[in-house]
């Protein structure tokens, strides 16, 4: 059993213990039932009066009344505990994901994480609830029943127990097979979910390239494989239940044969024979259930293993043990000999860059040069491979993550908005929903004019990822979200790429007043976005190749000047010649 699952169960040991006691008690009581039957049958054979019979009948009802009460609480307590465990695991799972670093999500498929949180967890709950409940229930009932039977007639009992080894062998052989095969079923299920998830998310591309038939074929292929794996589990676990019924039947047969002889030879009474039959009947259901339970437990353990795989992933970006709570004083940023590599491939190389508090630095450079990687180091989306990034003179890894990020307004290159109202989205990083600040932020990012045209204004509900907005509106909403938290450091990663130049101009003008006292890093491919920066850094292939102001860089006639020239319209150059 997974130690993690065990620890959850131990956390509820009181419930399980009480449940267990109730279960034992009710089982013991139930086992009295055949005794009463025996007494009744024997006394019927002995021609006893109706009063005694009524007494027995009453006794039977009384026993079951008690059993009824005990079993009610037994189920309530154990099943309740298993649901609480499910709740705790799901919460812990979410909390665990919340601590995981960006790279983990980049390498894990959402559909897979979903399957584990929903389908696998469900299976685990079933093994921790009905599974454990019936497992122990069966074992206790069997022991008590065997005890009773032994006390009547040891020989007959031993005869009947010949089926026990068969039962054990069945479980030992089939159990692990179910476990393995079920695991592969769940893996395939994850694949199917992830496939569906991606297809639905990328439906526009699917349609634009008329990919529907291929997608359907692929989905069919995955599903065929899923059926195949499912049937391979069914082949095994389908045998459990009939086998258990067979074993019970076998015991009844032995009883009929050996017991019948025993009655004839007078070793036991007919009543005792009936009593034996009663025990078998009582055991029949639990034994059949045992087949089901073993199946359940094996599946549960397989699923728990899959959950454990997620839990076993350690968050790579965490507070250092000596992390200090810090209030950001100035917002000065310094890169000291920073290098970053992804799986050995160098993306940034020995970057030295000091951004004084309050300054605006622009980063330009070719696609894939490492710009996003560079700024991602500041809020610790990644950590450096070498060197250090300092804020206010303190290595970012020594900051408390929450403190660090609280002071940063980040506009990522890929806009992600939530399917909520526009207001909630802009206020996403604010401690309180202050309507005034939301509108101010929307004003700065020039979203306010668009919002005025929306029939529901700030209460407009966005589609998932914000699909019901235009590309530029989404980007501006993301800018508003970053600005609204009033950060000391503002990072715009190509955040104006889908915005037209006149809106961009307005945003930059407004931002400049906001940025006067803040540190800002702006990444862009457009000269118009970066030219007013205090310092422009040109990044190429992971290295800083130029730095300086717009004019200085133009004068150097390097990469930046080249970029500048290229952005001029060709004819414009001609025109400029003509004009001057």
């Amino acid at each position: 059993m997974s130690p993690r699952l065990l620890s959850y169960i131990l956390r509820h040991r009181r419930s399980y213990l009480i449940g267990f006691l109730l279960g034992v008690l009710s089982s013991v009581l139930l086992m009295l039932d055949p005794v009463v039957l025996r007494l009744a049958v024997d006394s019927i054979g002995g021609r006893i009066g109706p009063r005694v019979l009524l007494g027995y009948a009453g006794l039977l009802v009384a026993i079951h009344l008690a059993v009824w009460g005990l079993r009610y609480y037994w189920r309530l307590i154990i099943l309740g505990a298993s649901r609480r465990i499910e709740y705790e695991i799901r919460n812990d799972y979410f909390a665990h994901l919340q601590r995981m670093h960006l790279a983990y999500f980049q390498h894990t498929r959402t559909g897979d994480l979903m399957t584990r949180a929903v389908s696998d967890l469900n299976t685990v709950q079933r093994s921790a609830g009905p599974g454990i409940m019936h497992f122990f229930g069966t074992i206790v009932s069997s022991i008590i029943a065997i005890g009773f039977m032994l006390s009547i007639d040891a020989r007959l009992t031993l005869f009947m127990l010949i089926t026990l080894p068969l039962v054990s062998v069945t479980f030992i052989v089939l159990g692990p097979m179910i476990h393995r095969r079920y695991e592969s079923v769940q893996d395939q299920f994850s694949t199917i979910s992830a496939k569906a998830q991606e297809n639905f998310s990328g439906i526009r591309v699917v349609k634009a390239f008329a990919q529907e038939p291929y997608e359907i074929d692929e989905f069919a292929r995955l599903n065929t494989e899923y059926i195949r794996r499912n049937l391979s589990v069914i082949k095994v676990d389908g045998a459990l239940w009939p086998l258990m019924m067979f074993f019970i039947g076998l015991s009844s047969m032995v009883l009929l044969w050996q017991g019948g002889q025993a009655v004839i030879t007078g070793r036991i009474t007919l009543g005792q024979f009936v009593q034996f039959n009663g025990y078998l009947a009582l055991l029949a259901w639990p034994m059949i259930a045992l087949g089901w339970v073993v199946n359940l437990m094996q599946r549960g353990l397989a699923s728990m293993k899959r959950l454990d795989e997620v839990f076993a992933q350690k968050p790579k970006i965490v507070d250092a043990p000596d992390a200090r709570p810090l209030a950001m004083a100035t917002g000065e940023i310094e890169f000291r000999g920073v290098s970053v590599a992804y799986n050995g491939a160098r993306v940034l190389q020995d970057i030295h860059l000091r951004i004084p508090a309050g300054a605006t630095v622009a980063i330009v450079g070719p696609t894939g040069a490492g710009k996003s990687t560079l700024v991602g180091l500041i809020p610790r989306l990644f950590d450096v491979t070498q060197g250090e990034v300092r804020i206010d003179g303190v290595d970012v890894r020594r900051w408390r993550l929450a403190d660090l990020r609280r002071h940063i307004g980040f506009v990522p290159q890929d806009t992600f908005l939530f399917s909520d109202t526009l207001r909630e989205n802009i206020a996403y990083g604010m401690e309180t929903t202050d309507g005034h600040r939301v509108e101010e932020a929307a004003e700065i990012s020039r979203l306010a004019a668009d919002v005025a045209d929306f029939p529901h204004r700030y209460d407009t509900v966005l589609g998932e990822r914000g699909v019901t907005l235009s590309g530029g509106q989404r980007q501006r909403a993301a800018i508003a979200r970053a600005v609204a938290r009033d950060p000391r450091i503002l990072i715009l990663d190509d955040a104006l790429s889908s915005v037209d130049t006149s809106t961009e101009e307005q945003i930059l003008t407004r931002l400049r007043t906001v940025l006067a006292t803040r540190t800002a890093i702006v990444i862009s491919h457009r000269i118009s976005t970066v030219r007013y920066a205090d310092q422009i850094v040109v990044l190429d292939d992971g290295r800083i190749v130029e730095r300086g102001t717009h004019d200085e860089l133009l004068a150097r006639r390097g990469l930046y000047a080249d970029l500048y020239d290229k952005q001029l319209l060709e004819e414009e150059l001609e025109e400029a010649d003509v004009d001057s």
Binding site: Y214, N277, S419, D420, E464
Partner: protein, 627 residues
Amino acid sequence: MSTHFQEDEILGKAYDARLMRRLLRYVRPYRAVVLVSVLLLLLAAAADLVGPYFVKVAIDRYIRTGDLGGVARISVFYLLTLLAGVTVRYGQNYITQSVGQRVMYDLRMELFTHLQRLAVAFYTRNPVGRLMTRITNDIDALYEMVTSGVVTVFGDFFMLAGIIVAMLLLNWRLALVAFVVVPALVGMTVWFSVRSRESYRAIRIRIARINTYLNENIMGMPIAQLFNRERRNFARFDELNRDHLGSHLQAIRSFALFFPSVGFISAVATALLIWYGGGQVVQNAVTLGVLVAFIQYTERFFRPVQDLAEKYNILQSAMASSERIFRILDEPLSVADSVDPVPLARVRGEVEFSDVWFAYPAAEHAGGDGATPRPRTGEPPLPDGTDEWVLKGVSFHIRAGESVAFVGHTGAGKTSIINLITRFYDPQRGQVQVDGVDVRRYPQRDLRRHVGLVLQDVFLFSGTIASNIRLGNTEISDEEVARAAEFVNAHRFIERLPNGYATEVTERGSTLSAGQRQLIAFARAISHNPEILLVLDEATSSVDTETEILIQDALTKVLRGRTSSIIAHRLSTIQNVDRIIVIHKGRIVEAGTHRELLARGGIYTKLYQLQYRDQELRIPKPVAGAE
């Protein structure tokens, strides 16, 4: 944060003849197999039923008479029926499950196929988490119904009927005594069904909420972390999770009460038998064997009843699931192929919009804040379910072979125009024509196959770089893939990746830089080689200028003779087009060549000046100073 998408509160009746008929349609192809399965089941149940009868015969005929051989003989018979029982049961189980698997497969494929045909608008309205619930959990509920529902219900009923008949035949008086408790049993079962139905309803709604929330928040986790939302989002998740726990605890209560109650009622029946039946035995009206068999039958009687109650639940949740699945299957195709489509084999590339009015379907609003769309003067009334016109009487004509650029402020409606050309949406008024025929008359796939589209939102699938460029079209060779990549200047960076074109791409291409992703999406459009129409929606917005120029040079070569429409904010991107159309708030306000537009001094001039005017002023100085 709350979940704003409307919940699926449909839970359906436990049994709905219409739905059931429709569901059974899926079983019909396998009806022969199902029939075999039912027969096997009846056999297995019969094998079960004879057990107590053997005991009765053994007691009355052999044990009481002391016939040792008889006991042995009947034991052998018993063993044989047991062996038959186990084989039959295994076979029956396997057959049923495999039918269930097939039915589930058929249904899941039908659902997926239909989803592929549904319009983009449907996906805007439905969160992915919800669609995932349909294609996984809901289908599973139906699977359970087919395997442990439909078939075994027959078995249970047969078992019940068999037991009742056997008891009546053995001794009808005794049987009636045992049946005294049946009303209590029925009452209990009905109570349980009603209660559990409500619980199921509550649980389903809550699990769907958890799914949707989880899906969105896993995708947006980096944002949540950057914005310090962990604690608040956790509180929200905990709330949803706790709610889910609460409805389960509620459900457990009725379950915990039901099963022991059935046991108790069964004991009452046994007690009655002992009291009354015992008396009868004493009076020699009934043999002891009959009484014992009766007691065993009574015990067996209650098991199928318990089973049936559980089946009822399965049925109930399957009904709810099927209703939700059927609702998607019945979802009309808002963008459907015409009944007599015009095949589109070759395209010349002429595009014409005539007085096109277009509005997006309004989002579902949770609260309904009362704001009603205000039709403005001079505009046609808004169609139902829309909020505002996005395109207002747009008319233009792109000649075959012409290249046209759309510019305008963000949110002006440029992407919407493209959505109409490719028929992601249909306009409410007016007409969009390609080659002189309304696009609604072409089969959608034909139309799109001829359009090379680079969407504003890049989407990469998990797979490899090559598989993202060629998608499902295996006809596209490796060379063609590489050529397309070279074309957009992506070849260089792809070559440098550890496995080149076979490098693994993670979900949404998250380990590539944004520009690299865009280049791959561009290469994808190029490799699918649409003969004529190229539609680029900010296809190079995240790409550096140098690469962009290289792409442009390459494009001008291909673009010769091809129609293209390009959206871009960087004006340098569109410097080579034949005509520029300026969109403002859903209307065309200017159109013409770069020079013509500059001469007009309108919106375009302003956009242009902002990008270049003060640069121009600066050019001479530093350049002159440097040289």
